[in-house]
Each structure stands twice: as C-alpha cells, then as structure tokens.
Symmetry: D2
C-alpha cells in the first residue's frame, strides 16, 4: 500500500475535479465526495460515487418521463408509504459506492451481505500495511451475561491493561512474523539477502483478524437500508456499528426524506407477534391480560418499550 | 399514460438541467441523457442515469485512493485482461439506468435477467396506452427449419399480407375489448354511463402479448455485458435484438475501452471444446484429423468459422 | 403440450417410484409428491422435489455434525427466535421445487421474485394449449374505491354476464387467430396446405394475458416465506393469492414448526412506526393521546387492529 | 466445538438413518452421505443433502409432467448442448449442501461466491478449536515470477524449515493469547479465577488467518460449476484447489453426464479472442500469420495449447 501522505495527496487532487452534468445531483454529498471519514483507529469510509436522490425513487415508482416529482409533501408521503409497506424496487434505483478500510474480523461479518459489489485489496498480490485495530480501554468488556454473542459489563482496570497489552503484543509479533516470512519489511526492504521470501498468499496466514484490509463496496439504497437496520442495531458488534453510524450520517445527507421514513418505520418501529398484539389489545381494553401466550423474550421487550 | 406531446415536453425540460459535480462524468453520455431512442414501432430506450466510466473499473480493480488510472495503454491492457479472464467484480462497479418501452412478449424474455432492478408500469393501477407492436412485412417469417425456436426463410407475399392484417385486427379488437371491460376509452371517457367498469387488474387480461409496457431498468456493467452477449446474439429473437443494438451504441459511448475488449474477447470470441481443440491441433500439425470425437454441431461451427 | 390423459399417466407412473435414502425425509410431503393441486380453472401446483425439514434449519443454525436437534421444545423456540429476529440464512438451507401452471398475467407478477430458479415452457419452441383463465362470476368486481390497484364491491348481474362473455369471446378469438397465424390447430393439424405458417415466436403475440403458461419453479424456504408474506396478503391480486393459499398448505406439511412461527411472527404480526408506538403508549398510560404525529393511514390501521 | 470422537459418533449415527422416498435418488451419493472427506491437515468436506440428478436437469429443461427423460443418448446430448451454450437455468434446479471445515484465509476467498447459502460457526458465540493450518514442506514456495498473485519455484530446504517453524510458532502463540484473553482454555477450564475473561467477539481478534472455521454451504449446480471452473483452475491458490478437487469427485458421482459435459466444454475448453481466431485461421490456410494483433499473453497461450 502507498504511504499515508501519498494517499492524502491523491484524495486532495481528486477532490478538485469539477464537471458539468445533467444527472440528478446532491449538493451535500458533492461536498463530502472522496473525503475520508475516520473510523476506529486506522479505518475510514469514503464516498466515491452515487446515483440518484430522493426524487429518483419517486421517479422510478411512477415510471416517469421527466423528474416525476410532485409537491414535496406528496413525494414525502409516497416515500413513507413505500418504506412502511416494504416496497423495495424503487429504492434499488439509487446506488452508492464507498471505499472502506476495516479490520478483517469486521470485513468477515460485512461480506455476509451478499447483495453488494466488492473489490477487495488482495494480500495474494500485495503486502498489507502494518496496521491493526486495538480497542480503546473503555471498549474492552467481558462476555455479556444476557446476550450470548455480545459483550457487556466492566472489567477490572488492571485486567483491561493486561488485555490491551496482550492484544498489542500479539499484533506486533504477528506482523513481525509476516515480514520475516515475506523476507521484506513494509517499506519493501529485503530483510535477509541470503533468503528467498515465502509467497505472499502463504505469508499472510500469520496475520491476525484485527489486521486492516480495504475494499470498494457498492450497494443500492434498499440493500443499504437492510445493512443499516442490522448493523446500526444495538446488538451488532461495536466495531461494525461505528461504520454503520458514519453511514447513517451519509445516508441522511444523500436522501433525507428516505432517511426520515427509515428512522420512523424501520429503525424505531416495533414488530409485535400475533400473541403480542392480543396482549396489548387486552390491556387497552382493560381486560384480563392474556400474556401467557406471549414468549418470555417478547413480553419483556413489549413491557420495556411501553413502560409497563 | 400521458399523451406523447406531454411526455416530449417533460423530456425536453429535464434535458435542460445542468449541475456541477465532482463525480466521474462521460461527455458522450451526458449528450444523450434522457433522450429517447426509438425502437420497433412504438418502443424506446432512454438513459436516465449512469455511474462510472472506464477509469472507475481500473480504480476499483486497484482499490485506489485517487483515480487509479495510469497510462491509457496500461488501463486498456488491464481492462482487456479482466474481460478475457472473466473477472466480474470491477465491472459491477459501474451502473446504468434506462427507461424502456417494449412489447410485453419482449418484456417477458427480458425479465429473465434477474440481476437487474426493475420498476414496471402497473396495469393494476393504470390503463395502458392503445399501442401494440406490428412487425414490418420483411420481419414476418416462417418457423426456422434448423433453429427450433427461431424464424427464417420467406413467406409468400399474400401470406405476409394476410398475417399482418390478422395481427392488426387481433390487436385492435383486443384493445376494443379492453376498453369495453374498463368501460372507459384511453382518453378517460366513460363509454356507458349505466355500467360500472371491471377492475383494471382483470380487464388487462384481454391485452395481447404485443401490447406495450414500460419500465425503469437499472443494471451494472458486468450484467449488462451478460445481457448483451445473449441478446445481441443472432439467435436472440429479432424484437429483443433491436433493443440490444441500441444498447451496444450506448455501451460504446459510455465505456469505450470496455466495449472494445468485450467485442474482441466475448462477442466475437470462440469457445472450443476439448475435442474441438484436439481436432484443430491435428489439422495444424498436418496429422490425420481426429474429428470423430467432436459433436456434429460443433464440427460444423468450427469448419464454418475457420473456412475449412 | 401433451394431452391431459397422457400427463395424468406420466404423473401416476412417477408417483409409483420408491427409493431408499439417508436424506432427511418428510412423510407428509412424500404423500403428495408429484400430485397436482388444482388452482383456478386450468392451473395447478405440483411439488416435484424438496430438501430438508424443520430439523435442517436447526442443524444449519448450529453447524452440527449430526442432526443438530435437541428437545422439540428447544428446536421450536430456536426457530421462533430465528423468525422473529428475521434471521434468514438457516431458512435458506431448505429448498422446494414446484411445477406450476398459471395465467400469463399472474406469471408476470410472480417472476418479479428474483431469488428463485425458473424454467418456463417456451412459446418460441412449442405451441401453447388452447386454455385461458375466465374468472368465476363472483370474482368479477369493479375497481376498488380505496385500493388504487385492487378490486372490490359488486357489479350488476347483467354487467357481470356481459364482462364474462366478453372475456370468453376475446380469448376464443385470440386463440383462433393464434392457430391461423401458426397455420396449425392445437392437435397439430395443418389448416391450409397452401400456406406456410408464421413462426411461433411471432404467432404468440396474439395470445391474451389470460392464456396459461407453465414452469418449474424452485425456491429456498426463506424466499418462499417472503413470497407468501406478499402474495398470501389480502392486498395481493386474488388470482395469485389462490396459488399462495395452496402453497401455505404445502408449507405447513413440510416444516410445521417454521410454519407456526411464520404465522405468529410474520403473517399476523404488526409493525408499528415510532409515532404509532408513542400513540399506543400514551393510551396505555391513560395520557392525552399524541396521535397527531401518526399518519392517517397508520392511525386507521392501528385503531382497526386494536378495536379502538 | 465438540471433541473429535463425539463428532465421529454423531456422524456414525446419522449415517445409519434410512428412509423411503419418492424423490429422485443417487445411489453413489447416498453411499457417501454425511461422510467426512479429509482436506489439508484439519479440514474436511461432507455432503449433507442433495436435490436432483442428471434427469432433473432434463426434466426442468423440458418442463415435464413425469421424469422427462428420453433415451440416455438424447439426454446426454441435451445436457451437452445446454452446457456448451451456457444455458444456466436447468442446472439451477439441482442443489447440494455441504458441511466444510477450512482455514479462515480460504473461507475469505470462498465467500466471494455470493450465490450460495452459508451458515458459519460464530466466534462471537463459541470458542474456536485450537487448530490451524500448517502447509506441508513441499507446499512452501516463493512468490511466482510470472503470476503476480501465486507461488512457484523452490526454496532452500533450510528456509523451508525456518518458515514452517515460524508458522507453527506464530499459530501456537496466537492461540495461547486467544486463551489468555478468554481466560479459558479449549477444554473450558478457567485459567485465572481472579480474572474475568474478555468477550469472545474481541478475543478472536488474535486468531491468525490460518485458524480453522466451518460452515454449512449450499449451492445449486450451475453456481457449483462456476465455483469449480474458478477454483479447480491451476491459477487458484493451492489451499482452495484441494477443496475443489474433492468436490469434483463428488460432482462426478452425483451427475455424471453433466460432469462429462463440464469437463469437455468448460474446464478443458479454450476461448479465443477475435484476433486469436484470425491468427489460427491464417495458419490453417498456410497464409502469412497475422499474429501482430493478438495480445502477447494470448499468443503464448495459443502457441502452448496447439504446440506451435
């Protein structure tokens, strides 16, 4: 990979381009185009390109000859309707392309979203940067007692120090071994002239899951919302949620009407089972609550949401 | 649907928009943006939006910070390599969005390409135009004797007249029945004040497969090439091939390097089976040709291509 | 297409096959395998093959070496959890393959579900049966006044008769024209020895949208549930809903635990927007209801569901 | 994860199941169902389930009521035609489900095939086995001089020893650190009663890319062939090719006619560009060879294939 300063120069240069276009254009996204938003200790998200705005959704839903938009209120109401009735095709008409740098264990979760396009930096072809993710102390937590796949609670501060140090040591040692296998440091200098390095596709096997990779990732708006619904969720792992957070900000700048509808009707919406509906109905009518059919997990959730 | 003149005004209006953008821009596509290319008797193709150009493919393949392009020759050679080795992901980084009007029987073939995004005009919601496809006389042909699913050869001229007239009559009558069921003509005038029309989702059942529909259709460059490889092919039905032809012209304007590589390495390339390779090898070395292992169909094809 | 009696003999014959297998097997599906379930006037659904049962979902979710199932109660609870948290991948591990005969306008809606595999009978290659869908009188209704894309209410009985007759006449005439163009009736008899027929790919253009087509359609359980959530819905067009109904019965036989969870947590569940939640909360706590933020459409829906 | 012996018992037990089915059944696959085929030092492939055989492809292509097969020769010829003309939908009608154990760096390549269904063992939820891939000495090679992303040639034997030892040491140390972070060894024993372990989703960050993971992976036959065309290729990394090799054997047992057609028409076929065709044509006709238009890379390839 290139050095940071070279990368910054390339970004600076490309941000100076300016063209004339008949295409739908979003000023707020133009302003941040190519800009690098920092995530975690060495990661980033950059918007590289986009297609469409809120009006494009309306235009496609109406199969229009022109812009297809009517009064702002009507467009807003249509978008709201489409989101709340889970219509997906008009939102597939918008696309956004990102350049993202992220730890490998995050990339492994991320790639499970199959309906996106990806070009990843290849460690068979190139040598990875000596960069790895070390969580901040406040993010080092024990296994959660309620969520079998998450973390929560607090560790003793000496334990935090111990773990942090161990993570760092493991990373440094792994990268050292990576260089030894390649017989080349990350400046491209040969380490031992008498040895021939091991192939890159094999040397990379020593890299730990907190090493950074990067990719171009392109997705349509419908699938982006699906990604965000899962990854901006409090149950998502913190290290992917911070990427989703940055994306929420970009989403808002890009298609503000869709963003608002998404917040109300997806992110902060509540889905209740048949039994849950029946329970709430009994409460609303002051009848004996038939909560026994509701699963324990759902009952807790409903009671929490409605402060019951 | 709106009247033609209204549609033309909408297109004229949207073609006057002009914005400033930092995005990669293709002048030749900007020139034709929103413009309607006529296909068949009432169909059209319009480019509504696009993302990326040739350099975007290179940029993604290299996971670049800036434009990612090097010398034109190097970019060209990389694109050629990617196409000929059937790399697909860098081409997925470009998108193009069309507005297309097409006969229903063509739409039924077209939709089999699942890796695109579609919003179709709904005949449950709206009333279709009184427009249907009638082939030109020269396109009315008998069933092919060699290709079980195509047409070829010539009909007697009085038969052509008979068929053409029959197709017209059937279309006119079907649309008449459509109006009678809706109890509404295509200007929106009620036909019989005493009757209540049949629902649109039922009335449409009388429409023939040569009625026109329209949709917004968005696809990435990789899948567009797959579509064109199948639909620009001489074996594709004429009525879909003419759409593919227009798209080939648009493709060339949009990403000329990719277009060239596609022509050489996909469209005009030849794939030979193991047995076919062995046959050609024997010919090249002046040995007794071992053609008996080659299938009859392939043997004919090879002999034709190489004028043997 | 073959004659009905030949088709029945083929089905009878294939239903007599019997093999020994180590694969997970569902007795209730084995009983109906290959059997034809009638839909509409000439349509049908047949299960041709299936992969997996309820235990396969659990097995995949647990990445098991053996069956992966524990106590029935634990499996049931896991499946419930997976459905209600919209986990999709374990349900993708089951597949079902259908042979379906359906009117073309239904096929056009159906095919929009892109995540299935399809092989359709080709009217470029073969001649379609003289079969078309004519709704029963009770299903002939006017355009709905509330649902812009549906039907509801009642027509005068003489209008019903008029429309029914018109639909029949249009279908018969269209098929007659189809035969004239092909110069061949549906028994394969040449109509006029002196004429050469028009190619099949062109003759089919006269077929109306209520002509029947057929296909093999294979889908995984996750996407089947998505299909059913949309097509078993009261807002779906009646003519596709009847197919979904038959499939619901097959679904229940195949994976009864998943079926139950789907009914409670998807089909009869309720999704409320942020504003809707806040409205219900205010009612539950006897506060002044803040319904003004809820959209009119949602307010009606909530009030109806909870009998408010 | 469970201990090996427990796993073997589970497999033994499930292999004893035996059911009666009307479904198409493949004896050669039944014999190996659930059986574990060893790959690399700790990996494996097991077939868990399958749908269809060669006849199912023919049945779907013909949209049949019964089996749809004709004479073996006709079926074979149809399958050959479908493969050589790159028809994909009939092959999508067959499915196969695997349980696979593989190093993480292999899993990262593998997952790029998006058209498959996957359930992976979660290291957020569970603790991974202390198992890692160490290449055999003969597989430790330097970077290739011709293939920028591969290995080839030979290392000095003392270098091989040095690299092998380093890989082992790095793996052992990383797993040691993994246990220290979890504060739990792989038998589930707490290491330090006074410390609280770090959450699993964080501890896993120390795992190297040669640690093993496992998943259920289901794919249709069309996409399996695409996977094998890429991964059984000599340019694929050795460590994924060995998995593809095992799959080729399973493929052959499952659908022998399709396998044969795939070998002739895909795996050992040759695709030549327009320029390449013209070059070969000139040679066949003894004319001055117009090789100057052929790219250097293709020219070498053609000359090698045809021994020119």
């Amino acid at each position: 990979m290139k050095k940071k300063s070279e990368q910054e120069l390339e970004i600076e240069k490309i941000r100076k381009t300016n063209f004339s276009t008949r295409r739908v254009t979003v000023t707020k996204i133009e302003k941040i185009l190519y800009k690098s938003f920092k995530v975690l200790d060495h990661g980033f998200i950059r918007v590289i390109d986009y297609m469409g705005d809120d009006s494009s959704i309306v235009q496609a839903a109406r199969v229009s000859y022109g812009k297809g938009t009517k009064k702002l209120n009507q467009d807003k109401s249509l978008i709201n309707y489409l989101i709340s009735h889970r219509h997906s095709t008009p939102f597939e008409m918008n696309e956004i392309k990102f350049h993202i740098k992220l730890p490998i264990f995050v990339a492994r979760q991320w790639i499970r979203h199959r309906t996106a396009n990806v070009n990843e930096y290849s460690a068979r072809y190139s040598i990875l940067d000596r960069e790895f993710y070390i969580p901040k102390n406040r993010d080092l937590k024990p296994q959660s007692k309620t969520n079998n796949q998450g973390r929560s609670g607090k560790l003793e501060s000496e334990d935090v120090k111990f773990y942090s140090k161990l993570l760092k040591k493991n990373s440094i040692k792994s990268f050292e071994n990576y260089s030894l296998l390649l017989n080349e440091d990350d400046e491209g200098k040969i380490l031992d002239e008498k040895r021939n390095g091991l192939a890159r596709e094999l040397s990379r096997m020593t890299l730990p899951l907190n090493a950074y990779t990067q990719w171009y990732w392109k997705i349509d708006l419908h699938n982006l919302m699906h990604f965000l619904a899962l990854r901006f969720d409090p149950h998502a792992q913190y290290e992917i949620r911070v990427y989703a957070e940055i994306m929420m900000g970009i989403f808002k700048k890009w298609v503000p009407l869709t963003y608002e509808a998404f917040i109300s009707n997806r992110l902060r919406s509540l889905t209740i089972s048949e039994e849950g509906v029946s329970y709430i109905k009994s409460l609303l009518h002051g009848k004996k609550s038939n909560k026994e059919n509701v699963s324990k997990r759902e009952l807790q959730h409903i009671n929490k949401i409605f402060s019951l």
